[in-house]
């Protein structure tokens, strides 16, 4: 009886029609998935082809699918918020639920949408761009993916079991501490981010080694495609920033569960230290989600302007400078803490300096278009829209960086407008651009152009209509994270909500386009869909699991462009040799499933379950340590067969 009471009162989130709806739909969708898989006898296929795969291309695709799902979830959160904020006195959400929703919206969008989306694209593309057969550590790569997937699952579970965190994606203490915020909700945030963060760190290491050690012969660093460069630099930021988050989350977890006093009011703890650690990671984090997007735009603009990238070296060095500066600006997120004139002046200036290398990039993109012959396919449209929108976001960032003025902008919708302008125009446009650009390589057919353009215009116009008014809401004194608005802010909020609806339509058309193109698009017969320049276009479409039958020797920048000029391919019949490939493994999935159990135990402070799960994790590590499986060889015969089939359509 007591147990049932517990289930109804604390375990499951009850009393909200929205959440009942979510529960029912989760159960229905799960049943449907189980049914479909059983009916079509697909369980074995799922396990063999996806859950145990170590192929970077499949892992990349899984990342992207998960990220799209998270964009949907985060987007629905956004629409709920916009609904509540449209009119003064709205009673659609009460304050508690509104707070939970902006918290999950922010967290999901940044941690479980933006990063995995970009990491998915990196996974698929980077090994292809450098002429490698996989990443340096394929097993670790699978582990990273599953740690992200289970981390995201834990976080999303909070919605129906135990309640969602409600302290903002920044989770400032003492509000997020155990005293003021008891219960499992905040633990979901801590543990969900922790689990996926470990995977991100591993991804960073993986890509650094991949890019340093697995380049095709002749592919010098200064010949790398610019997207690979951006991945490399992003990975460095990841490796040096994520441990800070790991520690910060761990400290708050220990505070909440084991009674320490890092960020508490009692025991002389120091709540602001959390903010300090959070932003020490958090600022580099925003460049983690923008630099790969910069890389994508560079590839696309150069391809569709049909010109070499302007100022390749400056593009590389500017990213290096941004990466370096990104570690010395974090205090701009709490200028209002009162750290004094010297601190604020220093961090104001370092922050504004980032405008310089970023400006170099903007002008170089314009330079790339100069004397080009620009085609306006959908990927290019996203990239073009990025430039003016991002500049608006960037220059308002510089306005925020002026500490004395920031005392007025801080915690207002001016800030909300800034970060959506950079995150959406930068990261989200970048993801959409990259996905449509590389889509034919991944799936063997283009996305429909007409639908693509419709979704583009809805999304871009909606985006500006939604977020531009928010700058003025900031000037009008509207604070962020407020669940209800004053009458004088109504006009602008109505506008913003209309914009959000336009964006939602844009996104819906985008998703529909995936389905439509799957059904009706013409299949690609040629690997080089867009007349591309980098090596990923040199393989056939669909890409064989070993990527390249023969690895080409690289003679300069824009490797594939040169190969095309010299009539070379990645399949030179005489040179085919057996290819060594890593074996698939179920260990990453199982290990992270145990991690999931351990996390769930920790979140509910059921230490027994937590320990049991951890033992499972350790056991998997031991199994892995004793695993001497050295992979397998693909025979010359099989390679020739595969290539013959794949190249049938080409002459």
């Amino acid at each position: 009886m007591e147990f049932i009471d517990f289930l109804l009162e604390d375990f499951f989130v009850t009393g909200q029609p929205l959440i009942y709806g979510a529960m029912v739909s989760i159960v229905l969708v799960s049943i449907a998935i189980v049914f479909v898989l059983s009916y079509f006898k697909k369980w074995g296929w799922l396990w063999r082809e996806w859950l145990t795969t170590v192929d970077h291309k499949k892992i990349g695709i899984m990342y992207i699918i998960a990220a799209l799902a998270m964009l949907f979830r985060g987007g629905v959160d956004a629409l709920l918020m916009r609904t509540q904020l449209t009119l003064p006195g709205m009673e659609f959400l009460d304050s508690q639920h509104y707070n939970e929703i902006f918290t999950t919206h922010g967290t999901i969008m940044i941690i479980f949408m933006a990063m995995p989306f970009l990491i998915g694209l990196m996974n698929y593309i980077v090994p292809l761009q450098i002429g490698a057969r996989d990443v340096a550590f394929p097993f670790l790569n699978a582990l990273s993916f599953w740690s992200f997937a289970f981390g995201a699952m834990i976080f999303n579970l909070s919605f129906v079991i135990g309640g969602s965190p409600d302290a903002g994606w920044t989770s400032y203490t003492p509000m997020a501490g155990a005293t003021l915020n008891p219960g499992p909700a905040q633990n979901y945030y801590l543990i969900g981010l922790q689990v996926s963060g470990i995977g991100t760190l591993a991804t960073g290491i993986n890509f650094i080694v991949t890019i340093l050690k697995m380049r095709a012969p002749g592919m010098k660093m200064m010949r790398l495609p610019i997207f690979t460069w951006s991945t490399f630099i992003t990975s460095i930021i990841i490796v040096f920033a994520f441990p800070i988050l790991t520690v910060a989350l761990a400290l708050m977890t220990i505070d909440r569960i084991f009674g320490s006093h890092f960020f508490t009011l009692t025991g002389e703890g120091m709540p602001m230290m959390w903010a300090n650690l959070f932003w020490l990671w958090g600022h580099p984090e925003v460049y983690i989600v923008i630099l790969p997007a910069f890389g994508i735009f560079s590839e696309i603009i150069s391809t569709f302007a049909r010109k070499q990238l302007f100022g390749y070296k400056a593009m590389v060095y500017s990213m290096v400078v941004i990466a370096g500066l990104s570690f010395v600006v974090w205090v701009h997120h709490f200028f209002t803490m009162g750290a004094g004139g010297a601190v604020n002046s220093f961090f104001s200036i370092t922050t504004m300096l980032i405008a310089v290398p970023t400006g170099v990039k903007i002008f170089n993109w314009l330079g790339t278009m100069y004397k080009g012959r620009i085609r306006f396919d959908t990927p290019m449209l996203w990239s073009l829209a990025f430039i003016p929108c991002f500049v608006i976001g960037g220059v308002t960032g510089v306005m925020l960086a002026m500490a004395a003025a920031d005392y007025q902008y801080h915690n207002t919708y001016f800030l909300v407008a800034h970060f959506h302008y950079v995150l959406i125009a930068g990261t989200v446009f970048g993801c959409f651009a990259g996905l449509t650009y590389w889509y034919p390589k991944m799936f063997g057919h283009k996305m429909n152009e007409k639908l693509g353009k419709i979704s583009f215009w809805f999304f871009v116009i909606g985006f500006n209509v939604c977020f531009f008014p928010m700058y003025f809401l900031g000037f009008a004194g509207m604070p962020r994270r407020t669940y209800t608005i004053e009458p004088e802010w109504m006009a602008l909020n109505v506008t913003a909500s209309i914009g959000a609806i336009l964006m939602a339509i844009g996104f819906a058309v985008f998703v529909y386009n995936i389905y439509y193109s799957f059904r009706y698009s013409q299949r690609e017969t040629h690997g080089d869909t867009w007349d591309g320049r980098a090596l990923e276009w040199a393989t056939t479409t669909p890409v064989p699991f070993y990527n390249f039958a023969t690895v080409p020797k690289i003679e300069g920048p824009e490797a594939y462009w040169r190969m095309k000029e010299n009539g070379r391919t990645t399949y030179e019949k005489e040179k085919v040799e057996p290819i060594h490939m890593p074996s698939d493994s179920g260990v990453p999935f199982v290990m992270m499933a145990f991690m999931f159990i351990a996390s769930f135990g920790l979140i509910w402070e059921w230490i027994g379950i937590a320990i049991a799960g951890l033992i499972g994790v350790l056991a998997c590590m031991v199994i892995r340590s004793f695993d001497y499986d050295d992979g397998f060889y693909v025979s010359v015969e099989e390679i020739k067969q595969t290539e013959k089939k794949a190249r049938e359509g080409e002459q």
Partner: protein, 202 residues
């Protein structure tokens, strides 16, 4: 994986492409560990002096014990170096002996650390006592946990050495665990200096 450019000279652990990549990857991981520990150091430094009603560090820290712990780890780092040296000479026996000594020293260190923690707890300084003591226990405890992990990991590798002898793979593993062990010594030097010595001075 791409071209297996294997070589036939030089230390065994570097001979395969895989071995070289693993070692490089581990170095990069150590870079991340530097950041991880420096975050703990930063926290410790910021929370220094926030002892609330608990004892202050100068009253509890004792030089002899800290010195013993330091020498244990320093020596183990040295013996680990010798173990790797023997491995590179192709002496499995030498490797076993010296790595064994290393682990024994590591266990000794852990023993002292546990004793120290229990002792402090008796004196009224434990994790929940105050911000300062939280920072102290988490910083030193994280290091201790790493040592424990290093020992267990090395034991697993010793078993594999038994089973397979010195191969490019096993020697790579030994080398990497060796790097880990030395690295923990580096961290301890900073704990010794900025926690214990400074804690005794001020």
């Amino acid at each position: 994986m791409s071209a297996h450019t294997d070589i036939s000279t030089g230390p065994l652990e570097y001979r395969t492409q895989e071995g070289r990549m693993n070692i490089l990857g581990f170095w990069i991981f150590l870079g991340a560990e530097v950041v991880l520990f420096s975050t703990l150091f930063a926290t410790y430094a910021v929370l220094f002096g926030r002892t609330a009603d608990a004892p202050v560090p100068a009253d509890l820290f004792e030089m002899p014990m800290v010195l013993i712990m330091t020498f244990l780890l320093l020596t183990s780092s040295f013996t680990c170096g010798i173990a790797i040296h023997h491995m590179r000479r192709g002496s499995l026996k030498g490797l076993f002996v010296w790595l064994g000594i290393t682990l024994a020293l590591g266990l000794g260190f852990l023993g002292f650390e546990i004793y120290e923690f229990v002792h402090y707890a008796h004196e009224g300084a434990s994790l929940p006592s105050s911000a300062f003591w939280s920072a102290f226990f988490v910083l030193t405890g994280t290091h201790g946990l790493h040592v424990l992990l290093g020992i267990s990991w090395a034991v697993l590798i010793l078993i594999q050495l038994r089973q397979r002898g010195l191969t490019p793979v096993t020697s790579r593993k030994v080398f990497i665990v060796g790097l880990y062990w030395h690295f923990l010594d580096v961290i301890w030097i900073f704990i010794f200096t900025s926690v214990y010595l400074i804690g005794m001075v001020v």
